[in-house]
Assembly symmetry: C2
Homo-oligomer: 395 residues x 2
């Protein structure tokens, strides 16, 4: 049965992270490799109460097929929460998806023809690389700097490549933890204004800011071109697979057709539970707690890096989110470091999967959401020793 | 923002049925248009108990991200249930999907290149036409006869078109209610054996047989080529969006990559609820109840048709499922009949959306799962009068 597969599926990179996570199940290993929110802050009791409420409120109707657009109350809640941030996004422009990963799949479906240009951040979010690969675009990688995307390179790519899409995570990016400054955002908007490039602003971590000032959304500064993706995975729970797409009316119409063709609709049962959870609880207090803990853990990791990493290692200083990004000196291979580190019972994600067509990179992603401050210090110390060992081997 | 869309999305037919269902909300209208399971048989209390069990058994872990393959216990249950029907399908060959609609999307993704041949039944399932359209195949329509698919036409299409896929609903097909006889199945298997055509056996209604003998699955008679799709939507509840794909190992490997790229995984929360429901209840007794009621309602519809429809109207006699199929005499247009019938407060689905590139057809789909016997008689009487009126007009 050779050659029975579509060309598109052979273009999708496998998730190296999946393999790493298997290693990390060993409880004696300290893992900075995960990309998971911290389970300690899942509002378990509140969700159980919301579930009881759903059974009472909807009766049997909650088990029937539902509409493709999603639970109306939930979409109203999302619209209202945007309004509180001065974003005017009507309910009709919001579609509930099975996590934001599905939003990416559907945007690829609806917008990308074979060979169309898709601008990606470098390093970029692996899930987006996978989702868009299915639709066989030409990827253009544009490097991230400390304050956002490289606008010179972007201007060049937009001019020559006339990309169909540009995909970004402007707040506390996965994998780098970098955020776009206001100035960088304005420059990006200027480059894209008047073009036919659709700008995808993926914002799963936006609510998880623990320092610095909130930045303006691209939906505000480039409204006609921007599609905004959101998710409850990092603020409530990921396991219900509830996210959303906020898009201009013309794109929304096509997304609804795609949603029907893809899975008819996302479960209204889980949508309703999230809705009642949001309606009946102090969500801001809940998110504030997550922010505090992640903020402390991020600071602990930065402090430990200062103490234990050898000179020459670079790292980002995230203002929010779940990840930071480190670079090894002298082009040391992060994959080689991984092999050393796992023997010392600490793991992370080597940078390779976050690049398109680059291997042997000297960068790595470190997750701080799931490890307590004390364990962070032990893990970073082990990792620092492994880096030293690798440096000595190379030197 | 013209021409920003992919070619593939413009090929997807819109669901006419969606529009009809909006009309059918008026409670004075009798609807044979729906495609829904009867909500009276959703096991609401049992599901609520299973949900409580899930909260107790899994704690917070149920809210975390899960694996892409799906809940292991649920996959074991599915495998075991197949074994009871003499089908050997290992757990590793079963992937949980967000309804079988998502199985169709992923099979299109993994198997279909632009222009590849896809054989469809005529009339065929609209959801499959929509799902595969995304991947821009060349459709080959092969007519259904009373005992299954037209094998002469199929043999010709397989020989000349070398299709990549063949999509079928061999048991109580949607929209026609037709089932493939054992002889027809063997002939189809003979035509496909040794070819590279993947045979998709979609079986959402298989458990809903109310008369006649169970037929052999294509998984049994054409194992290497067959991908089997199943769903809990018609036997438990549709609103959780839980279905599955059972496929040979080589295809499964690609489907898992596609699943990750599409939405990471289906909610393990809803999967677990279904699992505990199945484990702790007499599912066979539950399905038997649904079968009895649908069987009675189908018979009532057949009886009413006998009493109220004018001579010359043809109809299928389903052995299970939720639909029957009727044909108007003298090429009368079912769309014209719809306009008359809705004034008499009865609706159905005119045949057009179930054909690829055919309009003005004289066929229609009648659903019997959601209407009680008495109401069926009133509705069919109204519809009979509307047919008579149309016949007289045509004259």
């Amino acid at each position: 049965m050779d050659s029975i597969f579509s060309d598109r599926i052979s273009d999708v990179p496998r998730s190296f992270i999946r393999e790493i996570l298997k290693v990390a199940i060993d409880p004696s290993i300290i893992s900075f490799a995960g990309g998971l929110p911290n389970r300690a802050f899942f509002p378990a009791e509140e969700i159980e109460r919301a579930t009881t409420r759903v059974f009472r409120e909807y009766g049997r109707d909650i088990f029937q097929y539902g509409n493709s657009e999603g639970h109306l109350g939930l979409r109203e809640y999302i619209s209202e929460r945007y309004r509180q941030k001065n974003l005017d996004i009507p309910v009709d422009n919001i579609l509930i998806t099975s996590g934001s990963q599905q939003g990416l799949d559907m945007l690829g479906k609806v917008l990308v023809n074979d060979g169309d240009g898709v601008v990606m951040e470098e390093p970029g979010y692996l899930g987006a690389i996978q989702a868009f690969s299915i639709y066989q675009p030409t990827f253009y990688s544009v490097p991230l700097n400390e304050d956002g995307i490289d606008t010179d390179k972007l201007a060049e790519v937009v001019k020559t490549g006339k990309p169909r899409l540009m995909y970004t995570v402007p707040n506390f990016q996965n994998p780098s933890g970098i955020s776009y400054s206001d100035a960088n955002r304005l420059k990006v908007a200027e480059i894209l204004r008047g073009t036919k490039t659709i700008f995808i602003e993926d914002d799963p971590y936006g609510e998880l800011r623990f320092t610095g000032e909130r930045k303006r959304s691209f939906k505000e500064i480039l409204p006609d071109n921007t599609v905004l993706l959101g998710s409850f995975s990092k603020t409530v729970v990921p396991g219900f697979r509830i996210g959303w797409v906020a898009a201009p009316a013309q794109i929304m119409e096509k997304l609804i057709i795609a949603k029907q063709a893809t899975d008819l609709h996302t479960s209204h049962f889980t949508q309703s539970i999230i809705y009642w959870y949001l309606k009946e609880n102090d969500v801001n207090a809940h998110i504030s707690l997550i922010r505090q803990v992640y903020g402390k853990q991020c600071q602990a990791m930065l402090d430990s890096i200062g103490r234990h990493f050898p000179a020459g290692v670079t790292n980002t200083r995230p203002e929010g989110g779940m990840f930071l990004w480190a670079g090894l000196p002298g082009n040391l291979s992060a994959l080689e470091l991984f092999d050393l580190a796992v023997k010392d019972r600490v793991v992370f994600v080597p940078g390779d999967p976050f690049y398109i067509n680059k291997t042997g990179t000297s960068t790595m992603r470190l997750n701080f959401s799931c490890v307590d401050e004390k364990t962070i210090d032990i893990g970073i110390e082990r990792l620092g020793k492994a880096i030293l060992t690798l440096l000595e081997k190379a030197g």
